[in-house]
């Protein structure tokens, strides 16, 4: 975490610092053409290669800011710049944007009324367009929010951080005047600065005259290409929103840092939590030493208690309560299903929500959702994917413009949730199907473990499109989830083999691919999945069978985890010792109390598969090696916070 935050902070500083000499090379580019690499038309300075070599490394972090906010917006409406958002040309974009951003504040500071008018009107335009089609396009959503928070965003940003701007004043001067740029490339650095200082006033006046009226004029009439027509205002608003959003996001990231997880072997904390808790925590007996810090399993003993409280939990929405019960009893399991069920319950709760008097929707609803979440956590620990979904929802609530009426806000949130389900789960799954199906060849023998809804869909899809293959379903006690999946696969006419985990090394001989699902994937590439997955992956690795992990990107998590001990979930300990329906093998039933004291049952639900054993991760952004998970996390995490 820390390193990442630093890395994302550093490049912004450097970017400003470095492209001063470099700007001439870049600067003309956007105006003239989209010749991405600056090397072609810039007789480079002595340090330009250095900056060049730096930029590919350093650009990605700032890129996702500008790309998500600006780059996409550019890509959409301007036909001529269709490729603007793509990777190759991004390099040339950053400077121009930042330059444009840097340009505008000084101008408004100079006290030009018409400019501030211009920006304001353009901002107003944005706001209008946004309230018209709430959350229809990603970037505008971002603008909208930041701007409503601070209507005069430019001025506000300025007021907020005047210091960095003053410190950057020099660089502004360097990069500001477009007319000077050709000259400066040829000039010595010092001479450049001198001349720029001299030219500063003139250039600003020039820029004001030329740009501001144009911006004001062009921003009003057309709706379609806002980016093309008025460089300065939009860019400034992009930059401003970049600023405005970036700060809260950073803050949020700090806030979103998972709070230190409750360690259940810390007695004082457990006591405290017990008092707060809705459910009474069961007294865990005889837990395995190593796993005492994990929340004890809450099984049947909780159910009657929760049931008897049914009518007393007024603050709990019925649908949330139902989902909680289903988690508790295990009626709903599986990462996607739990996440969807939770989101749909929240959706219903939001629909029935009405803001109490003297409270604001944003705050009250957030705390309400928080209450729901803690209830669900008490029923069963959340999965990473659900944590991500909750984070998304909360950020959406927090970013609701205050101007929206309650019904509008509720509708917006509901459609956000729908969109999350559609884009992050349904469409992601469909993309994964396509990707993974390309890896299935005729004659393959595919092995899968347990029951993963994505893997199942892949198999069915591949079968549908006529691939000839065989499936080995490996399963394990006590969940025996594979059987459910097996039933559906066999019903669809797939040829299947069913075996238990113990036999994995025997069946692995004939297997050509292993498809696994995942509950979550951490940034170090560790796959967190149903217990047993690690053994399957390791055996496959030993037999040189490729292991494909299929997982939607919303399940990625920035945490780094090396083992499955520090974070895991405990299942019902009795489930491992008892075999339902087999009275004849219940050897552990009639233990005396003394014997029971010596017996500790462990039923772990998840395990962590090291990235070494994974060949490829199939996700909705494509097939990536496990080492690329942090890239996805870094690049796309913002995006779904900002959808």
């Amino acid at each position: 975490m820390d390193t990442r935050r630093v890395s994302s902070a550093v490049p912004r500083v450097r970017q400003v610092g470095f492209f001063t000499p470099n700007t001439p090379a870049h600067q003309p580019a956007p105006t003239r053409s989209q010749s991405g690499p600056p090397t072609s038309d810039s007789p480079p300075l002595s340090d330009s290669p250095a900056s060049n070599s730096l930029s590919p490394v350093m650009i990605p972090p700032p890129r996702h800011l500008s790309d998500n906010l600006g780059g996409r917006a550019y890509a959409l409406p301007v036909p001529g710049r269709g490729n603007a958002g793509e990777h190759a040309t991004v390099g040339s974009y950053n400077p121009s944007e930042s330059v444009l951003w840097l340009e505008s504040p000084p101008r408004s500071r100079i006290g030009d009324e018409e400019l501030s008018e211009g920006t304001e009107s353009s901002l107003g335009w944005y706001r209008r367009s946004n309230s018209a089609k709430v959350a229809s396009s990603l970037p505008s959503g971002g603008f909208d929010l930041s701007q409503v928070k601070q209507p005069e965003s430019v001025a506000a940003v300025e007021a907020k951080n005047p210091l960095p701007e003053k410190s950057e004043a020099q660089k502004e001067q360097a990069s500001n005047p477009k007319s000077l740029k050709a000259k400066t490339t040829k000039a010595e650095r010092r001479a450049l600065q001198e001349s720029q200082r001299a030219a500063k006033a003139a250039s600003k006046a020039e820029a004001n005259k030329s740009n501001a009226p144009g911006g004001a004029a062009s921003s009003k009439p057309m709706k379609q290409p806002p980016q093309k027509k008025d460089g300065p205002p939009v860019a400034s608003s992009v930059a401003a929103s970049e600023r405005g959003v970036d700060r809260p996001v950073e803050k949020e990231r700090k806030k979103d840092l998972p709070p230190p997880r409750m360690q259940f072997d810390d007695e004082s904390r457990v006591d405290k939590a017990k008092r707060r808790s809705l459910l009474n925590q069961p007294e865990a007996r005889n837990r395995v030493e190593l796993f005492r810090h994990l929340p004890p399993h809450k099984n049947g003993s909780q159910l009657p208690y929760l049931e008897s409280k049914f009518f007393e939990l007024h603050e709990m929405h019925p649908s949330v309560y139902k989902v909680g019960l289903q988690y508790l009893t295990g009626d709903t399991s599986g990462g996607n299903a739990r996440c969807i069920a939770m989101l749909q319950a929240f959706q219903e709760a939001i629909r029935d929500y009405s803001t109490p008097p003297e409270k604001t929707l944003n705050r009250d609803l957030t705390s309400k959702i928080g209450g729901f979440v803690s209830f669900l956590i008490e029923c069963r620990p959340l999965s990473m994917s659900m944590g991500n979904a909750i984070r998304f929802l909360k950020s959406r609530i927090a970013r609701l413009p205050l101007t929206l009426s309650e019904s509008e806000a509720k509708a917006a949130l509901c459609s956000d949730i729908d969109r999350f389900i559609n884009e992050k789960i349904v469409l992601a799954d469909k993309v994964i199907l396509r990707h993974a199906a390309t890896k299935i060849r005729d004659g393959d023998v595919l092995l899968t473990y347990g029951s993963s809804c994505v893997v199942e869909m892949i198999l069915l899809y591949a079968h549908e499109i006529g691939k000839q293959f065989r499936v080995v379903v490996v399963d394990s006690r006590p969940m025996l989830e594979g059987q459910k999946q097996l039933r559906r696969l066999v019903a669809k006419g797939l040829s299947c083999t069913y075996t238990q985990l113990n036999a994995i090394s025997y069946v692995m001989h004939e297997v050509t691919r292993v498809f696994l699902g995942a509950s979550s994937i951490f940034s170090n590439g560790t796959v967190y999945s149903r217990v047993g997955t690690a053994s399957v992956a390791m055996v496959a690795h030993a037999f040189h069978v490729p292991v494909l992990v299929c997982c939607e990107a919303y399940k990625f998590h920035e945490r780094v985890q090396l083992d499955s001990i520090c974070f895991n979930e405990l299942g019902d300990p009795d489930a491992v010792s008892k075999v339902p329906g087999r009275e004849d093998v219940n050897y552990l039933d009639n233990l005396t109390d003394k014997q029971k004291e010596n017996l500790q049952l462990l039923n772990l639900k998840y395990d962590a598969t090291p990235s070494d054993y994974i060949s490829v991760i199939v996700t909705d952004y494509g097939m990536i090696p496990p080492t690329s998970v942090p890239v996805i996390v870094r690049e796309y995490r913002k995006e779904y916070l900002l959808i």
Binding site: P304, E307, S308, P318, T332, A337, I340, S451
Partner: protein
Amino acid sequence: MDFQVVVLAGGSSKNLTPLVSKELPKPLLPVANRPVLSYVLHQLEQNNLKDLIVVVEGEDTALVVGAWISGTFIDRLHVEIAAVPEDIGTAGAIRAISHHLTAKDILVVSGDLVSDVPPGAVAATHRRHDAAVTAMLSSIPVSGPLDSGSSGGKDKAKKLGRYNIIGLDPGKQFLLHIATGAEIEKDARLPKRILRAVGQMEIRSDLMDAHMYAFKRSVLQEVLDLKDTFQSLKEDVLPYLVRSQLKSEALSNRTPQGEENGNEKVTSQNNQVFVSRILANSSTPSFHDHSSENPDGSASTRKTHKCCVYIASSGSYCVRLNSIQAFMDINRDVTGEADHLLTGTSSDPNNNIGPSPKLGTKTTVGPHCMLGEGSEIGDKCQVKRSVIGRHCRIGSHVKVVNSVVMNHVTIGDGCIIQGSVVCSNVQLQERVVLKDCQVGAGFVVTAGSEYKAESLARKEK
């Protein structure tokens, strides 16, 4: 929680003939000196269910019951009293108040239920499975060891006939078969479809239907509309729903689907199917899902609904007051082992167990007895396992064992009362011997008479 509670308080009851009357309808029949209805209402109140509809048979009865409720639960409960004509049955009663029902689910509770099973449990089970109907079953109450042998045998034999034959799935969550009333004597008929879908069925006769149901409103109303001959929830509606659960004609699935479509306009139909498939695949399948699968695995359009049960744990107390024997049992249990039903219910301050009233010398009052306020007992009396109401006057040398004596009863010297119910305002003159008798309100038993297993009531004028 989107539940509406309907308390079917009833009116007069044939089973309890000498005890209940126009003046004292069944809901107000005192159990341990509190009207039986108060147990239900109190329990609902404890569970935070404060908006109730109490359905009473007959206008006059409704007035009496309404007066009592508003007097006792004033500003604690919000109760609507609905009067329905007599003899339309429970289903008819619901039909009559159908237009009052608006919530998603309806909890129907019988007014004569004395139980400590939280209604929330039934509701939660209902919600969890998204069931059409959830019934609460409880184990048949055993007549306690304290029961006097003479009264037990015959009544028990009678009682067993009235209980239900219930078929459950192996997980004891779903109701597969229920036979009630007269049907028990006939052959049990099981739909083959259900048997095939479940594979295994557990038939039990040691459970009884406690008459606490959670219904999905849409289903209930539809069934009542469709089948206007249905008289009783227990004997008609519930068995019908159970029988038809795999070929639901009640169309229970239609309404929620309609809602879903309304909710998710944004998502295309395709995505919706996708989502529902994810959800369906990951949830524990019940036999309903299997049966609705066609052989080729695709889900058919056949509609099903779920009939769930909540089986009260063996430690909880759950009895219906529907016979004189049950009345005796409840009185005994409530003062005895199930006395937690009374504690904390200080709505009537006179509910005290133990001898606060005036007792004569050498009078013994055994454990598990209740003496109402203002009662006087003369010298050398014996009271064992009995409930004595308010303002009773009992002479000396009286023996009261296993009996219920209601309010304002005068008992002369030397009476012996065993296993009997003596209603209000009864006058027992001297040396009366009652054994297993029921004495209706206002009756006067002449001195020296001896009755055994008889029901004595005043002639209606």
